[in-house]
């Protein structure tokens, strides 16, 4: 029996590793900002964690608006001096979290509703295209006779590139 090959864990590309390293350095340097973002961007992290779809867009979708809701607090932090106590104070203000989380919630709404709407549009468009194809094929068959369909396999290109 052939030995079962163990699947190797995916190796992270070097550029990603460098970027993470830089981010960690920045997070340490700007620690108060890091604390503020960690508190406000919690919904985005959760969205990223719970997303089981292959394309993993939930975190990004929620995160984009979550970030928009966090930026005012971040600007205020910088206005206040950018110290850690300022960050904690801001985090403890309900207005800060409310704004960040409300924006994240809006992100969730977009994430959950827009795909259904797009899907509906695409289905409609597909059905319309099917009707168009059928009509065109009928027209071709009428003009050229049943022979046109007899050798579909031969006439079709071997492989679409």
């Amino acid at each position: 029996m052939a030995p079962v090959k163990k699947s190797q864990p995916k190796k992270m590309p070097f550029s990603v590793r460098v970027s993470i390293f830089c981010l960690m350095v920045l997070a340490v340097i700007y620690f108060p900002t890091t604390v503020l973002f960690c508190g406000c961007m919690l919904p985005a992290f959760v969205a990223a964690l719970v997303d089981n779809k292959a394309d993993k867009t939930a975190g990004m979708t929620v995160g984009a608006l979550n970030l928009a809701g966090t930026v005012p607090a971040w600007l205020e932090l910088w206005q206040m001096g950018g110290q850690i106590e300022h960050a904690v104070a801001l985090l403890l203000q309900p207005r800060t979290l409310l704004l960040a989380y409300a924006a994240a919630a809006f992100g969730w709404v977009i994430y959950l509703q827009v795909p259904n709407m797009v899907s509906g549009v695409l289905v409609k468009r597909g059905q319309k295209r099917l009707l168009e194809i059928e009509k065109r094929q009928q027209e071709l068959a009428r003009k050229w006779g049943p022979q046109i369909a007899a050798d579909v396999q031969q006439a079709a290109p071997r492989k679409e590139t």
Binding site: I110, V123, L130
Partner: protein, 655 residues
């Protein structure tokens, strides 16, 4: 009417001048009112149409004058007949039909009355590169009162030369051949016939009358032609010299025209000795009959093939031949025969044996007896009569003519050409497709034969132009023309005008009706152009009605419909090229094919797209969600960026 000059009276037959499938009628010169004789030629008898011009140029007072010739629409029968119109000959014939007595001409008058006129006519014909080939007793007319008789030689155009001769008028070898199979012949053969006529006159009638052909031949072989015809009759020396000269049984020793002319001038030629025939010391018995020499034996062996085959299996014949004939050539021929005999077809064995015994006799195979030069005429005759021509085909396939020629290769002037011709014939026979086969041989070997297609029985079709006009007439009569060109017509056109049909032969013989109709139309249009034939509306309509499969060759149905509509209009004009242009214009055909190829690809592509779409739509619940999430991400990103920008702007500038 013939040529606007002659009026023919079909209801006034002149049976006294009719003979050998040739019908005779009263006719009249329209201008002068002079009575004339119209003779209609039989289709299969190969009338000598190409010799008409040369015959007309022969200005001899002793040859029946040709006034006019051409194709006549015969009233009442609704058919075309080739008709020759001659001066009305004198009423008296040298040997009237149904009688055994000839016109009496004394010994002292016979040269002036018969021999001199006939030799003059033969010399004039030879100068025009013609032989007469019909110098029989019933075709020589006697003009003038008793004591002043003079012969008028009858016509020789209404059948192939020597076709109408009975066995008595022919040399021994040629008499053995069937009438159509004797070949073209020479002036020597005409002189022989003249000698027979002179002998008849001198004896007061036909000395061999009432005897069957093979008895006539047998008597000539036994006694020699001169003795068989003259019996013990005593003649003046000068007449004996003439008759021995022209009736000599050895072809090489027989007088030619120059010898006869010298004799007429009064020069005495060396006396001809009778031809010596090899005779056996002891007779050979076959079917209770004793044979002393080989020619009669060969004749009877050929006539009884089953007995001959039984004879071959015994040694009797071989032994008799070895013991009785010391002839090196015969030995060689027999050696060759015994070598080839093993395992050969029974009829072939008989044919080759009799050929070895008598190499000067015609090729005798089953019921056929033919010289190579006469094969074409005999085949045409058989075909015109609707006889089975299978044996003719076998004769060529078995290469019996080539064997005959090879035995006398040095003696026959055109032997190499003949061998090549028959080899070509064999190759044509081997090909079974229309345009080839036995039909092609008929037209290849007979330059003047009409098209023998059963459809054209009522027409006299001498060339592709005539053929097109005959088809138009058939179409006018409403006759079903399917197929328009049959095997005979295809072979006829292919031999007479190869350029008219050979480039399209593949189409013409195609099993695909569309291609076939196109091929036929191409051929007929080419003929119409080449011979500048007037419009043929009836034929065009018939062909137009048959164009369905040709129109269906186009893939584009709209185009088909448009062409079908235009066909109806084009059919009225009678121009075959216009019809052809509609269904066979190369750019249109090519464009149709290219567009069809594109359409096929498009159809295939749509089929694949449709299958993919249908498959996606079966998963309607998830269809488009991934794209939707991308869209959602995009919207969220745009909104996020916009709101960050607004926040920053508000924070720094509006606050």
């Amino acid at each position: 009417m013939l040529g606007g000059e002659v009026e023919i009276f079909p209801l006034k037959p002149l049976n006294a001048y009719a003979s050998f499938e040739t019908r005779a009628f009263e006719a009249r010169d329209i201008k002068t009112g002079k009575p004339l004789l119209a003779l209609t030629a039989g289709r299969g008898r190969c009338p000598r149409i190409s010799a008409v011009g040369s015959y007309q140029n022969v200005k001899s007072a002793h040859l029946l004058k040709l006034v006019s010739a051409g194709i006549v629409e015969w009233p009442g029968e609704n058919k075309q007949v080739y008709t020759f119109v001659f001066d009305l000959p004198p009423a008296r014939k040298l040997l009237p039909e149904g009688t055994m007595r000839t016109v009496r001409i004394g010994d002292e008058r016979i040269i002036a009355a018969l021999i001199q006129p006939a030799v003059e006519v033969l010399a004039d014909l030879q100068a025009a590169d013609l032989v007469h080939g019909a110098l029989t007793g019933d075709n020589i007319f006697i003009a003038g009162a008793e004591g002043g008789e003079v012969a008028i030689i009858g016509e020789c155009l209404s059948s192939a030369p020597f076709f109408r001769h009975g066995a008595i008028y022919e040399t021994i070898e040629r008499a053995m051949a069937q009438p159509g199979g004797r070949g073209y012949g020479t002036a020597k053969n005409d002189l022989y016939t003249l000698g027979v006529c002179v002998a008849m006159v001198l004896r007061g009638g036909n000395p061999l009358a009432g005897k069957p052909d093979d008895e006539v031949i047998r008597e000539k072989i036994d006694k020699g032609s001169y003795a068989a015809l003259m019996g013990g009759e005593r003649l003046p020396a000068y007449l004996t010299e003439f008759l021995r000269g022209v009736l000599h049984d050895d072809e090489a020793a027989r007088w030619n025209l120059e010898d006869a002319q010298r004799w007429l001038e009064g020069r005495r030629l060396s006396a001809k000795q009778p031809h010596n025939v090899m005779r056996a010391r002891r007779p050979f018995v076959f079917r209770d009959r004793k044979y002393w020499e080989l020619r009669t034996l060969a004749m009877d062996l050929a006539a009884h093939p089953s007995d001959t085959l039984a004879l071959i299996e015994k040694d009797g014949l071989d032994l008799w031949l070895k013991r009785n004939f010391e002839d090196r050539d015969l030995e060689l021929r027999l050696e060759t025969f015994w070598k080839k005999e093993d395992g050969a077809l029974r009829e072939r064995v008989v044919a080759e044996l009799v050929q070895a015994l008598d190499p000067y006799a015609p090729v005798r195979y089953r019921d056929l007896s033919l010289f190579p030069q006469g094969f074409g005429t005999a085949l045409a005759d058989a075909m015109a009569r609707g006889e089975d021509v299978q044996h003719y085909a076998e004769l060529i396939s078995l290469q019996l003519f080539n064997g005959w020629i090879n035995q006398r290769y040095e003696e026959i002037a055109e032997s190499a050409g003949m061998v090549t011709l028959f080899e070509k014939c064999r190759n044509f026979l081997a090909q079974k497709m229309p345009g080839y086969g036995i039909e092609r041989l008929v037209y290849l070997l007979n330059k003047e034969i009409v098209c023998l297609s059963p459809m054209l029985r009522d027409f006299y079709v001498l060339g592709p132009g005539h053929l097109l006009m005959a088809l138009e007439r058939l179409a006018q009569r409403g006759q079903k023309l399917e197929p328009v060109l049959d095997r005979h017509m295809i072979a006829f056109i292919s031999v007479r005008e190869p350029k008219m049909i050979d480039p399209y032969l593949g189409h013409v013989i195609s099993h695909d009706r569309g291609y076939q109709v196109i091929g036929i139309l191409r051929t007929l249009a080419a003929i119409q152009r080449r011979f500048r034939i007037a419009p043929v509306p009836a034929l065009t309509r018939t062909l137009s009605a048959q164009m369905g499969p040709a129109v269906e060759r186009f893939f584009d149905r709209d185009l088909r419909q448009a062409i079908a509509q235009r066909l109806a209009a084009a059919a009225q004009g009678g121009n075959l090229s216009a019809l052809l242009e509609l269904v066979d214009a190369p750019p249109v055909v090519q464009d149709d094919q290219i567009r069809f190829a594109h359409a096929r690809r498009e159809f295939a592509f749509l089929t694949r797209e449709r299958a993919a779409l249908e498959q996606q739509l079966t998963r309607r619940a998830t269809f488009g969600l991934a794209s939707g999430r991308q869209v959602a991400l995009l919207i969220a990103s745009v909104l996020g960026v916009a709101s960050v920008m607004l926040t920053i702007f508000h924070y720094y500038f509006w606050r």
